[in-house]
Amino acid sequence: MPALLPGAARLPSLALAVLVIAAVVASGPAPAGEPDPVRGKYLFAAAGCAACHTDKKGKGASLAGGRKLKTPFGIFFSPNITPDPEYGIGKWSDRDFIRALRQGVAPDGRHYFPVFPYPSYTGITDRDLLDLKAYLFTRPPAKTANKPHDTAPPFGWRFLVPLWKSLYFTPGPFRADPGRSGQWNRGAYLVTALGHCSECHTPRDGLGGAKAGMALAGTTKGPEGGLIPNITPDKETGIGRWSDGDLHEILKTGMLPDGDFVGDVMGEVVDETTGRLKVADLKAIILYLRSLPPVFHRIERKKK
């Protein structure tokens, strides 16, 4: 496994990262005010939790997990995130919840595989995380046990996850860019943190890390082997020629400029997330996407 060697050299920085993480978690400031489940419901939609954490095909209970997620790194099954104390997250403290989404670490200290999009969710603010948790705890509990993942070595080796994190994961909540407008920052927050768009739309390298300089430039190896389009504003291969109305339409209703309606994964995203967002938030997303550096990256169907 020569590809992992550069990581070995980084072990000291990993140790440092762990220390920093521990320090942050220990001193994590609690946001003022009671958590608001109504706000949490909207954040829940914006973060698209329902799609992965519900096994619709298997007619599983809402948020009880068990959905099969086929990735190039193996088959993963999403866990139960209902407030059931035994099978779900009912016993989790606020701190547990924040640590899971910010650091990708379970209450028992195990590291989550990055199929759980914590590299994006890490950007969600404490306030939003606690509101989100408050909403989750209003959902009906389900007694559904989690299924073990089906992965091939080395991707199923959990002890390698910290190494992966040291290479590809930068924890910490979203920091607004004071040089940009409030609307731009809202768009950036929705796209990079809550919406976790890059989890599908950014190509990954052989170890599953985001390819540098290719943010949102699309990939031929999307979830379940699909083509994921380039959504940078490149005029030829991205969305550079789409009007704001075109972008609004795909996000709100799922209709593409040619009158086609998206199905598969993006169809779910429209149902669960973008179709439920307020117009102001969709506008912020569009503004942010337009401001990205255009990347020339053609995503094409394989010719047979």
């Binding site: 209703t253 009158g259 199905g263 598969d264 994964v265």
Partner: protein, 154 residues
């Protein structure tokens, strides 16, 4: 010597016949798939055109009826565009269409009913109601069917 030549000829004839047997249905399937894709392109074309008119980004309100009527007619055509055996070849139509025809027919019926309703509302001149029905059609017919019965792009 002669025997081997005849044998060779026989093999050639048999191979050709077998190849023909395989190739003919395959060609027929390719034709059915191409037809289906053409119908779906027309469906998409009318959806995009109606979207433009309803949002006021292009076209003219009085032409909405042309597209709505065409869509209602095309829905009945689309119902016939999935013949048995047309799941093999360059198609994103999922096998489940033929494995579970009852489920598939339900969604196709939604397409037929909802597009007929859109044509009716459009004919009555109620622009706002037409816009709502247009979205309803897109969500409940187009998107629902694509989620269940269309393979992702590969």
């Amino acid at each position: 010597m002669k025997k081997t030549a005849i044998r060779g000829l026989k093999t050639a004839i048999l191979s050709l016949a077998l190849a023909g047997l395989i190739a003919l249905p395959a060609l027929a399937q390719e034709g059915a798939i191409k037809y289906r894709q053409s119908v779906m392109k027309a469906v998409g074309g009318h959806m995009a055109a109606m979207g433009a008119i309803l949002k006021g980004t292009g076209g003219q309100a009085r032409d909405l009826k042309v597209h709505a009527d065409a869509m209602a007619a095309l829905a009945t055509v689309a119902a016939n565009a999935f013949p048995e055996g047309s799941d093999f070849g360059m198609t994103r139509a999922k096998e489940v269409i033929w494995e579970n025809p009852v489920e598939f027919k339900k969604v196709v019926q939604v397409f037929i009913d909802e597009s007929a309703k859109l044509a009716k509302i459009t004919a009555s001149g109620k622009f706002k109601a037409a816009a709502a029905q247009f979205l309803h059609l897109g969500k409940n017919a187009c998107a629902t069917c694509h989620k269940k019965f269309r393979e992702k792009k590969k």
